[in-house]
């Protein structure tokens, strides 16, 4: 019998896939949900209450761009009533001072603002939105004025990593208490754009050094979260802290996922929060059980003494690179597929910089 899993700590609520930005590394699935399929605010409220009862403490309101929903204040109020710590993960381009203060009044705890670069022209090109960067800077001022704590999230890759020192300066200028330097993770949209995004080893080493120096220089003022990216790592990340161990994502259409990218995995019937309670999904659904714990593991994970530290790494990356989600994450040096990562880095080094931008597919006209 499988032992009872620990209660989940975090819930990622992807409120919508709509977004005015078109970032070529978007973590949303390549098949995006349409607005008509989105859960309504009352259903999110029920999900939040179920999550809190189950042990969730932290709620991430994300998307797409969550502010594309007009009922966002109502959703935030539901989170506050449920007693969850709410973090708004936003591009900042749709929220003016008035809408933001409505969110603060509804009980929002924290804002995480993404930027695409430190330099406007490049940032607007990467995000695929003219004037987007300037709007983000104005939004950060609104966050400050509303008295909300701010994290700046900088997604980094080959085309902006050299400006990491400027991104750190930007975080300080905007009054962020925390900077998350997030290397692109390569599945979904980002995998399609991998050749244009993978950084070189030299770039990565310079960035790591910049983070070490900045952490010392700004200790107590700016916390910098930074993790070495998989393609240059020897050990995989404990993706999501292990499958079905501490985290639940819910897609705009209500599908509950052990990881927000898991919809890219074939052969799953992910449970929907419209049909089942979150507790039932967490404890009993096949999807959350499949890679939970260590029983599912192949070698070299099965006999590895780190199997309960990294939990086999990322299932989505294993599938994307080896074709089998149950394989050891190729980010691990013990994986028989580890050489694929070096190959990708070599290929990217001689590749161009053009992007395939994220887009919501138009419905097919002559279907069926």
């Amino acid at each position: 019998m499988t032992p009872q899993p620990p209660p989940p700590l975090g819930l990622l609520a992807e409120l919508t896939h709509r977004c005015p930005l078109r970032c070529p590394y978007c973590s949303n699935p390549v098949e995006l949900s349409r607005a008509s399929a989105e859960l309504d605010a009352a259903t999110w409220g029920r999900v939040f209450r179920e999550a809190a009862a189950l042990g969730v403490l932290q709620l991430h309101l994300s998307g797409g761009e969550p502010a594309a929903r007009r009922d966002l204040p109502e959703i935030v109020a539901h989170a506050a009533e449920a007693g969850l710590y709410s973090n708004l993960i936003t591009s900042g381009v749709l929220l003016d001072a008035e809408r933001l203060s409505a969110l603060a009044a509804a009980g929002l705890d924290h804002v995480q603002l993404s930027v695409q670069d430190a330099e406007a022209q490049s940032a607007d090109r990467i995000g695929g939105m003219q004037g987007g960067h300037a709007r983000k800077l104005r939004f950060a001022e609104h966050v400050h004025a509303a008295g909300l704590p701010l994290t700046l999230n900088a997604v980094v890759h080959r085309q902006n990593l050299d400006r990491l020192p400027e991104l750190i300066e930007l975080a300080l200028t905007l009054g962020a208490g925390r900077l998350e330097v997030a290397h692109v993770q390569y599945y979904g949209w980002a995998l399609r754009n991998r050749d244009a995004l993978l950084p070189s080893r030299a770039q990565l080493d310079a960035a790591t050094e910049a983070v070490i120096q900045a952490r010392a220089a700004h200790q107590g003022r700016l916390v910098i979260d930074y993790v070495v990216p998989d393609y240059h790592a020897k050990r995989p990340k404990a993706c999501m802290g292990g499958w079905g161990r501490s985290f639940i994502a819910v897609s705009p259409a209500g599908r509950a996922l052990p990881c927000h990218a898991a919809e890219s995995l074939p052969g799953f019937d992910f449970p929907n929060v419209r049909d089942r309670s979150l507790a039932d999904i967490w404890l009993h659904s096949e999807a959350f059980q499949r890679y939970r714990g260590t029983d599912w593991m192949p070698e070299p994970c099965r006999s590895c003494d780190r199997r309960e530290q990294d939990w086999g790494g990322c299932r989505c990356q294993a599938f994307a690179l080896t074709g089998d989600a149950a394989n050891t994450d190729p980010a691990c040096a013990h994986s028989p597929h580890h050489h694929l990562l070096d190959l990708a880095v070599q290929e990217a080094a001689v590749a161009g910089t053009d992007f395939i931008y994220r887009e919501i597919k138009r419905p097919a006209v002559a279907e069926g």
Binding site: A53, G55, L57, G83, Y85, T151, R178, Q219
Partner: protein
């Protein structure tokens, strides 16, 4: 940043909240993407951190309730708060 001393009035940094975690029968400090689980002594200290008490006042309160030399308590309190300040949990 000024280091935390006896006269400092410490408080939680913006976005940090001390709350009960009923599902796991404990108290935690939650923040953005972060979670701190204070031990029993740290929890006593954090509960006294209300934005009006100074470090000295917190130490006085603890010294009146626990059987330990005031100086030892003061050292523990300062060490904890300084550590939490470098982690961005506590501010002065």
């Amino acid at each position: 940043m000024t280091p935390i001393g006896p006269a400092t009035i410490p408080r939680f940094a913006r976005g940090m909240r001390l709350r009960e975690d009923q599902a796991r029968s404990r108290w935690v400090v939650v923040g953005p993407e972060r979670l701190f689980v204070p031990d029993e002594i740290a929890l006593e200290i954090l509960r006294l951190m209300d934005g009006t008490r100074s470090v000295d006042a917190i130490v006085d309160d603890l010294a009146s309730r626990f059987d330990a030399p005031r100086e030892a308590i003061a050292n523990d309190v300062l060490a904890l708060l300084r550590d939490l300040a470098t982690k961005g949990v506590v501010t002065s």
